[in-house]
Symmetry: C2
Subunit: 460 residues, 2 copies
Amino acid sequence: MNEQPRQQSIEDGQEVIERVQEMIERKESTPLLDLLRPMHPADVADLMEHLDAEEADYLFSLLDHASASEVLAEMDEHIRERLVAEIGAEKLARIVDRMESDDAAEVVAKLSDELAERVLESIGEEDSEDVKELLGHEEDTAGRLMAMEIVSVHEDATVAQAIAAIRRAADQIGEFYNVYVVDSGGRLKGVLPLARLLRSPSDRRVADVMERDVVRVPEGMDQEDVAHVVQKYDLVSVPVVDEMDRLVGRITIDDIVDVVVEEASEDIRRMAGTGDEAIREDSAFRVAGVRLPWILISLIGGVLSGSVIGAFRGTLSSFLPLAIFIPIITAMGGNIGIQSASLTVRGLAMGEIGAYEIWKRLFRELRVGIVMGLVCGGSVGLIALFWESNAALGIVVGVAMASAITVAATMGTFVPVAFKKLGIDPAIATGPFVTMSNDVIGLIIYFGIATAMRDWLVKL
Amino acid sequence: MNEQPRQQSIEDGQEVIERVQEMIERKESTPLLDLLRPMHPADVADLMEHLDAEEADYLFSLLDHASASEVLAEMDEHIRERLVAEIGAEKLARIVDRMESDDAAEVVAKLSDELAERVLESIGEEDSEDVKELLGHEEDTAGRLMAMEIVSVHEDATVAQAIAAIRRAADQIGEFYNVYVVDSGGRLKGVLPLARLLRSPSDRRVADVMERDVVRVPEGMDQEDVAHVVQKYDLVSVPVVDEMDRLVGRITIDDIVDVVVEEASEDIRRMAGTGDEAIREDSAFRVAGVRLPWILISLIGGVLSGSVIGAFRGTLSSFLPLAIFIPIITAMGGNIGIQSASLTVRGLAMGEIGAYEIWKRLFRELRVGIVMGLVCGGSVGLIALFWESNAALGIVVGVAMASAITVAATMGTFVPVAFKKLGIDPAIATGPFVTMSNDVIGLIIYFGIATAMRDWLVKL
């Protein structure tokens, strides 16, 4: 069986889903298992995500413990949580027992305390210790993300002994690409990629053939920083060490890819103000519940903007065409602010903007704001001039727009940086907050200038 | 030397940069090389990105060809392009000669035709063929991204012969984790992870110990789809095959991580309307040039919104407090539209929304829009009621807000999906386009309702 990825043919996938649903309805367990057997666990997990809860439960109940554990490891969190809550402590323990420590810890972390305890009691003692140790680390750190299944040899071992250690370990550890070399204290001294091990004479000491320059991460490091390290050094896996530089685990890059994708999505969600977590709910009320807090921030912003207009009611009533340009002032300020903010947030997230570059960046945005302000202010001013045949209106609108845009670009850069300094995720700043401030500031500038030039506006 | 990642101490990094700059100024080449020698090529590349052009050129000129090729492979594109244009064809050829085919192709792709030809003439014939073949593939496809350095053995070979092949290949190929198994026609039949190879008896046929289910990608597959495959199946490297299923190369996951990061950043940039490419310019004019087209779209939107207000001037002049709620209507519609659009864009990008789910999604957003519309419309209506002590204004504003929000949520979901169907990147739809439509539609609804209820508004 070739497992050609099925990505590209949604129609095929849809057909398989319908066949599976039919088999489930008729309880045809044998042909169903025949259909599932050649499939990759990731494909089975994918399939289950397209079934309804009852169908998925039935399909999952048919799988043997080994397949169930592979499928569970690949599954989306929200379905996995529901499944594991339903299958009973005993069966769950047998499934978790077959997982690697990092996957097992991920599953156990989401269980109720009581169920977690029962599962941990029922699995092998060593596995249980591993999971407990992993769960002792804070969420989103290297220590929590790592797997504890590692192959390590003493620096005085020979290449032949290292190969023997791999043969012994191979049954328990799925895939691995490196043998780590440690001293008598367990401290990480080097790494032996398997390809290098294979071409080393079997009587050499591993210390003589290993790579000594090993990039490592401390167990307390935030997973986002781990991702930066792995990306920067193009690593396939990275060893994790404790504060004494003792080897405690390893993180493989497939988990890092998940982190990178998750962080990028989180940034996008925060920028758009749709909450920290991916929304997979189907209930309109719950989705609205996650999104409303952000919208209420912009409601407050709207009320503030309205107050500005209310405060300048006199100016507006003496020259009504001013109202026409309210949406242009707010829309342009808002969009420029979002541009600057998203560039800054992304730069901060990717580690492109260090402490060193912040002032340079702010100064650049100020200059960019002035350039864009002059272009847009000029255009809008001309539009206002011809639209209402009023030179004063053209000047008021143009100057206000140019100033508002300059401020928006600067604010859009400054706010995320300030949030970062205050320990708040800068992505949160980007959406509603920047838009709101720019609306208010833009309107104050606009009506302030209009009021100062009121006599001239009305006279012409 | 332990290469502890330096991520966390920007201050340390700053100190190193200053020391290096000093050494460069005094032309102290020997101590400078001593400082660089223990550094990871990625760190040297990083350091060079913080130097000015002249400093970086000097530092790069000190490196031997092997180091230069490693550093060049890790370097940011915009600095690399400048460097390679300056170092001369002969030296460049020697550096490129030492690179893996995928890195070499990346460098050569950016050279002028003439320089590229001279470099390709000067490097080994086999390498030159490889690079030419890679460059024959379209940009952003698996065939362009892959490296051609692979270790493959015939299915009839023994484990001992496979190990011998690895020993022979190891000098030319940096890191690899899998041996691919092919038939006499070169077609991919299986894969042997090195760990599995190590624990197999040396007289067994590789065909008997290999894994037969190999996820592979066709050479024409878009790199974004390759990234989805690698993520889904948790792969460390993926073999690339031609239309006859013949093995032609492999893609390692570190290149995929770059693709994933790049795609996420591209989505964010397009959503914010800051252009397709990362902005690394320092010239305010050029940055403004990239961003202005997007801003001019929202300028057009602003003019349209202004026209709506202009068209309803009669209504506005007969009841001026209507102006106060203009920014609330536009801000709320805009933010809700961006929420819906970014959820949809991200869902499409991550492959979470198939053809099957689109209608379900649209229907969900409609319901979410109604819930949020009722909550926000109710709140804003009450604010309007008490602010101006006018029940009619409360009702006009509340009803308009509720309708505008419902439309905004639906539009925010519909537009990216429609763009995708039309073959336009949905991320482009998200920023200016959705905001602009929602402003215009929201204002038409608002002033439409206000005009219909004008008599009642003025009377109360």
